[in-house]
Amino acid sequence: MNSKLINKIGAAGFNPSQSTGFWRGACNRFCYNYFALGSLIFILVLAILCIIIPLISRHEYSTTDFANSLIPPNSMYWFGSDGLGRDLFVRCFIGGRITFEIAVAATVVVLFIGVMYGSIAGFLGGKIDNLMMRIVDVLYGIPFLFFSILLLALFGQSLVLSFVAIAAISWLDMARVVRGQTLSLRNREFVEAAYICGVSKFKIITRHIIPNLIGVVIVYAALVVPNMIVLSAVLSFFGLGVMEPMTSWGLLISDGSKNMSSWWLLLFPALLMLLTLLAFTFVANGLRDALDSDS
């Protein structure tokens, strides 16, 4: 879906040589993009709410109360209550917390694998690069969803494993983008200078190549997070991932869509997720425009 965008990022190339001036300029450009800035603030506020609300709410996310099940939104239950009488408001935010945790953790794993793999392939070049990218091509051939279902089904349903499994198949795009960027960095003067000075290849990659990839990586990370949110929600629909009584947005939406007569069960988590995904898209667009110094 974002391949066009990725190509654009790769082709335009970032110019990190402007050091502080570049980052200050990018920051200014981002802050003048009110849509992107507003979206970023929305995401931050939502993240803080997800931490705070389960702590201060008068309801507990797992306490069942059969006398008050399936109550429409009112002053006591702001988002209504579910079939077991649990407050949906708290569950939406605790679910948001889990969803954000999975997405951020998976993104970190994606970034780590993708950046290492891509920069090593791009820097070494030649036959090794060819082989490494061939492997990526092979993995691309597998419809990713089956693969993550398979991984989750095989390695149990713990939260940690679920995001590692998700991340393990999502680093391919990242690796391609980083490789492309590394190929163009490889022949720059400062890398040659480091090479002549006798710096080891590993050190050149970690000290000289990777810092110069930060621009691409930041933009791409802003695209990976919403993808991870969606993927974890999809896996919830297949009954994998987070287990009751803990919840996630995907699980709430999945439960809500099984019980449509109680519309609030679906509407609130779906709207929260929808707004979050849109916000991430706008932030990613804003970051791309801000960091793309050519335009």
Binding site: M1, S3, K4, D137, V138, Y140, G141, I142, P143, F144, L145, F146, F147, I149, L150, L151, L152, A153, L154, P226, V230, A233, V234, F237, F238, G239, L240, G250, I253, G256, S257, M260, S261, W263, L266, L267, A270, M273, L274, L277, L278, F280, T281, N285
Partner: protein
């Protein structure tokens, strides 16, 4: 032409083999066997079961047997539905399993591609007009909202609240039951085609041969249909290969949302029942379809882009 296709096939076969090996190893390296669990079998029965499913052989022999079966179009036996083959589960005689998924994916591809090309080209030709702006904003929003969120919300709106269309089920491929799932799958992938088509049209219109055509005084209609259309389609076509795999996966997610009896339900049940042979079969089917479609796209490329022939 023929040597090109053969070359493409020669690359595709090892790729497919590598995928099969990878998935096979993943499934078979898991400790334990599929018959441990709920029911305890006596050692003799267990031995017999393992023998029947060839699970007592060394791993490499199992793999060779599996590949041999695949070459005969046989996905093996289900571990859970004793006596039933995976083929019967994936390709049932009635409308279900793969046929539902294929239908869903095919219909929405047939809608997405022409619609995306037409809208994208139109937006690109009328760049910066209100139509172009509306299309861009809509496609940004649609591409950000996944089926998993939009699907249930649309069901809530059209099926439950307004009561216009049936919410779920397939009813033997009845038109009304297909409107929502096909529609939502189409909307999910339309932006991808549209944005690429729009960008491609803009690129082509700026190129020198179009300027030449304009300078010769050709009418706009001929410039667009005779000169600009073919090169515009090239990036769109190259997009379709990877997109097909995505649509297939998207169709399975859509099935989950709309409770259609396709590969999605089959996968869920396979996971719940730990019927790994079935998951293996579905994964391999999906991968081979994706690879086959990529080859088709490459061949289509060959006809569209005369530069490849040299």
């Amino acid at each position: 032409m023929i040597s090109f296709i053969i070359k493409r096939l020669l690359v595709a076969i090892p790729t497919l083999l590598a995928i099969i090996l990878l998935v096979f190893l993943l499934v078979h390296l898991v400790p334990g066997n599929p018959f441990q669990g709920e029911k305890a079998f006596s050692p003799e029965v267990m031995q017999e079961l393992l023998h029947q499913y060839r699970l007592d052989l060394p791993l490499w022999k199992q793999f060779l047997y599996y590949v041999n079966d695949l070459l005969h179009g046989n996905f093996g036996q289900s571990y859970k539905f004793i006596g039933q083959s995976i083929n019967e589960l994936i390709f049932p005689d009635d409308l279900g399993g793969f046929w539902v998924t294929l239908r869903l994916a095919a219909y929405s591809m047939l809608l997405t591609v022409p619609l995306g090309i037409i809208l994208g080209c139109y937006a690109g030709l009328a760049r910066n007009s209100w139509f172009d702006k509306v299309v861009i904003v809509c496609s940004t929003i649609f591409s950000a909202v996944p089926v998993i969120v939009a699907g249930p919300l649309i069901i809530l709106l059209f099926a439950v609240t307004l009561n216009y269309l049936p919410a779920s089920g397939f009813a033997d491929g009845d038109f009304l039951h297909l409107v929502l799932p096909v529609g939502i799958l189409t909307l999910a992938y339309l932006p991808t085609v549209l944005v690429v088509a729009r960008g491609s049209v803009i690129d082509v219109l700026n190129s020198n041969f179009i300027k030449t055509a304009k300078a010769k005084g050709l009418p706009t209609r001929i410039i667009i249909f005779k000169h600009a259309l073919r090169p515009t389609l090239i990036p769109v076509i190259s997009l379709l290969g990877p997109m097909f795999a995505n649509v297939l996966v998207g169709a399975i997610v859509t099935e989950q949302v709309f409770a259609l009896p396709g590969l999605g339900i089959l996968t869920t049940n396979a996971v719940i029942n730990r019927d790994y042979n079935l998951v293996l079969g579905i994964t391999i089917l999906g991968s081979s379809l994706a690879i086959a479609f990529n080859i088709l796209v490459d061949i289509a490329y060959f006809f569209l882009d005369p530069r490849i022939k040299q």
